[in-house]
Symmetry: C2
Subunit: 219 residues, 2 copies
């Protein structure tokens, strides 16, 4: 309670980055589980989501305490408000990693499909988008935020390629439909991770360009 | 600037409810467009998402102003913090309605599939979940919030039935695969609307039960 506002904001930033690195870690692990058909690792990702949920609750509590006891204004207030939203987004990203984990668990228990799909590239790009969007946020780096928007186009292209291969495999191997639809879902959820990182990047651009607009208006 | 905090909070609640009713309206319309194969109505829903985005930005601005100028505490602060999160969720729900609208536009331009699916029930239940979760929030009605959690189980069951029918149709009519996958996506996005309403309901329960815990701790 005796900490200064700058110290509390510093800690908040640190905790938010720790949450995002935990989410990144879940994304990396769940795709490793898929590639290596490692159901134990997939279950580990599913179980680890509870800790992500706890972190989110703690960070929201910190935000509320800062708002109630320190009444931040201007850029500090915008940082806390953005943290509340991004914190929520990160928790949802954790949910996506968990959903993928459940599908990977299922896929580890059945025969591999005939689809020629490799999820490593899309997953690595999506993970990097999460990292970059968070780095852009904590460093107010609008260029890096714009890079995330460009990354999203690449993730969308990779998703389209994977979808195409999965659709072709469904046509040629309809007996593998259930597994192929799970892979379809994995693809979509990796793309959604990228979408959520894009939302964060857009938020960063909005905050920074909003600033510029306000500065100009006040000049 | 001269308005009192109670008046500003009252207005904020009103604006949030207007946003949620706009989202509900989009959900109802997009499914009407699907059932009636009305591509104009589908495009209308897609276009209307921009207004939902604008509302979200305005509501967030109101929250920031209230935090900066009126420094709310206790339940008022929790209301503003929850509004920031729910406002974000409602904007995402608008995105889902827009996504469905794009799929419906596509489906209106191709032959109907052989799938025996009717989306009216799941859509109406999902729409009602949005309404109930928001009513639970603004009235602090924990019973209604719990009803939303029960509704979500029904939506999940309906989704499973639709998925099953769509999978069977893919097996029997692989030539309709593209359209059937769009219907799969519509089903999933309606279920996700229900999931997001569930998040709001869980938030309401957390706020109210958090209160109880705090009251007990202070007794």
């Amino acid at each position: 309670m005796n900490q200064s506002l700058p110290q509390l904001l510093h800690d908040l930033k640190h905790h938010l980055l720790f949450l995002s690195s935990t989410v990144e870690d879940a994304v990396a692990k769940v795709v490793q589980a898929l590639v290596q058909r490692d159901s134990r690792l997939a279950r580990e990702v599913v179980a680890a989501d509870a800790e992500i949920d706890n972190m989110e609750v703690r960070i929201e509590g910190e935000c509320q305490q800062i708002l109630a006891l320190h009444q931040p204004v201007a850029s500090d207030l915008r940082f806390v408000v953005a943290t509340l939203k991004i914190n929520n987004d990160l928790e949802r990203m954790g949910d996506l990693a968990k959903k993928i984990g459940k599908n990977v668990s299922y896929l580890c228990g059945v025969s591999p499909t005939s689809a020629n799909v490799d999820f490593r590239e899309i997953a690595e790009k999506a993970r990097l988008m999460v990292k970059r969007s968070m780095d852009a946020f904590v460093n107010s780096d609008v260029e890096l935020a714009r890079q995330v928007l460009a990354d999203d186009d690449e993730v969308d292209s990779l998703k389209d390629e994977l979808y195409e291969e999965l659709r072709n495999t469904i046509r040629n191997h309809p007996d593998e439909l259930d597994s192929l639809l799970k892979l379809y879902s994995v693809t979509r959820n990796l793309e959604r991770l990228g979408d959520m990182a894009t939302h964060i990047a857009e938020e960063v651009i909005f905050i920074i360009e909003g600033d510029i607009v306000r500065h100009n208006a006040g000049a």
